[in-house]
């Protein structure tokens, strides 16, 4: 069964911030996966003072997007709006079709069925989800621009035992977890959630 495992390792996050971030992360991720036609079998988010962890199972390897006719701007709007709409669907303005509806005549884009790799989609969804967390209280540290509950040190991201590559602010994902022992941090390579 497919497995997505993301672990955000930070300095100690106060419990109230941790609980809030964990709940938001779960809700936002559910929404964002659903918007990309991804329906996981299970989705869980855990937290400890130094870790926020996402564990998702049952995601497909490929996302199948069926052919569709997507309603666009109303006929008569400025040309720039129409060309932007066509561009957003990877089409030319001449590819758009005009159709009458109860509310007037609109442009429609015919989008062909396609398949997207889930890895690629997750590499977009997860950083966006992290960005969308609205911390009740957040901070900056060092010379970075990122805001987080407490300094974020590392992001482990694994999908089906392979590294899921994305950047989040100054951090690049890794395939190892950080273990704190007394006054040292050790890196331990990870293949899956277990």
């Amino acid at each position: 069964m497919s497995e997505l495992f993301v672990e955000l390792f930070s300095e100690e996050i106060p419990s109230n911030l941790q609980i809030n971030a964990r709940k938001q992360l779960e809700d936002l991720l559910k929404q964002n996966l659903s918007s990309s036609n991804l329906k996981p079998k299970s989705l869980e988010v855990f937290s400890t003072p130094t870790r926020l962890t996402i564990y998702v199972t049952g995601l497909p390897k490929i996302i199948k997007i069926p052919a569709a006719e997507i309603k666009g701007p109303k006929v008569g709007v400025p040309e720039s709006v129409i060309s932007n709409y066509a561009k957003s669907k990877n089409l030319n303005v001449t590819d758009l079709q005009k159709k009458e509806t109860e509310k007037g005549t609109f442009y429609f884009a015919k989008v062909k069925a396609k398949e997207i790799s889930t890895d690629e989609e997750l590499e977009k969804i997860i950083p966006q989800t992290l960005k969308d967390i609205n911390w009740k209280k957040s901070m900056k540290w060092s010379d970075f621009e990122m805001n987080w509950g407490r300094p974020l040190i590392s992001i482990l991201a694994i999908f089906n035992e392979g590294l899921l590559k994305f950047n989040f602010a100054h951090l690049e994902t890794v395939n190892f977890t950080m273990l704190e022992t007394d006054d040292q941090i050790k890196q331990v390579k990870v293949k899956n959630f277990r």
Binding site: E11, E12, M139, K140, W141, D143, P151, D182, Q184
Partner: protein
């Protein structure tokens, strides 16, 4: 001679704690400064922290700072409270990635090995209304006792910090009591020749408590506050940030004395704090301009 002194490796006097922290942070690359020569309420008020945490230039410093809090005096009768005590202060800009581990290693040099103790980082968001400063971080607890404040400054003298500094403030008396297993501050062993904390500071605690609570001339203090405030503003007009900040520190200490003499009402208190904050803001702003211009 106390039992612990027999085991030289496991016993740390008050001055050992200071020496070892100085040595550790010096090796790390901090310059070791001396205490600031004015009365301050905490190590954060030393310009090496307040002003140096502003502006783009990297900075690494450590120092001991005697801290005076007149209202905390107890005439030398309370085993845990002093009106004059010591903080060991570390300031690093920008904050290093592994500062938590660097800090935990420093504890092992003063007899606190992390694996032998319950070390906790407990949320403690810090604010100083007089300095117009705020930071996020923790109190560090060792076996249930606070031994350090660990703060990432977000704002200082009303100005956003960029880059962010980390400040570590070790409570030297508390740490010494902990490592020497003493229940009374005055019983702390200052050195290995039998000199105790009370031999150095008990008389001072009695006399300064009497001054702070009973004898400080409040008319003089009120006048001195006005003088310090006026001098600070005049120096700020001349763009002299450091002398101006000295006057701000003087005003702040005078305010603390007036507070301990009980002559400031609740309503007046806010007004005084605002006036000191304005002096701190002005000093920070002039200092920052000087750093950017260079």
């Amino acid at each position: 001679m106390p039992k612990q002194i027999k085991n030289k490796n496991n016993f740390f006097t008050f001055q050992d704690v200071v020496f070892n922290l100085q040595k550790y942070w010096s090796k790390y690359g901090c310059i070791i400064l001396q205490p600031y020569d004015l009365e301050v309420g905490a190590g954060t008020f030393h310009p090496a922290t307040t002003l140096r945490s502003l502006g783009p230039k990297p900075w690494k410093a450590a120092y001991v700072q005697p801290s005076r809090r007149p209202t905390d005096g107890r005439y030398g009768k309370n085993p845990n409270r002093l009106q004059h005590y010591y903080q060991f202060q570390v300031i690093i800009k920008p904050s290093p990635k592994n500062i938590k581990q660097i800090y935990l290693k420093s504890l092992s040099t003063i007899g606190i090995v992390a694996r032998d103790h319950d070390i906790r980082f407990v949320e403690d968001d810090w604010e100083s209304p007089t300095l117009g400063a705020a930071g996020l971080g923790w109190e560090v607890w060792c076996d249930g006792m606070e031994i350090t404040q660990f703060t990432y400054f977000q704002k200082m003298t009303g100005i956003e910090c960029k880059p962010i500094s980390v400040e570590l403030t070790y409570g030297l008396e508390r740490i010494s009591m902990f490592v020497q297993q003493k229940k009374n501050i005055f019983d702390i062993d200052w050195n290995r020749d039998g000199v105790k904390y009370k031999d150095v500071y008990l008389q001072s605690e009695k006399e300064f408590s009497a001054y702070n609570f009973d004898h400080a001339n409040t008319d003089f203090l009120l006048k001195n506050f006005e003088i310090a405030e006026s001098e600070c503003k005049s120096l700020l007009d001349k763009k002299l940030s450091l002398p101006a900040y000295d006057q701000c520190l003087k005003a702040s200490h005078i305010f603390n004395l007036l507070d301990s003499r009980g002559v400031i009402s609740v309503a007046e208190r806010t007004g005084y704090i605002n006036r000191i904050r304005e002096l701190a803001k002005g000093s920070g702003s002039v200092w920052l301009s000087s750093q950017i211009e260079k």
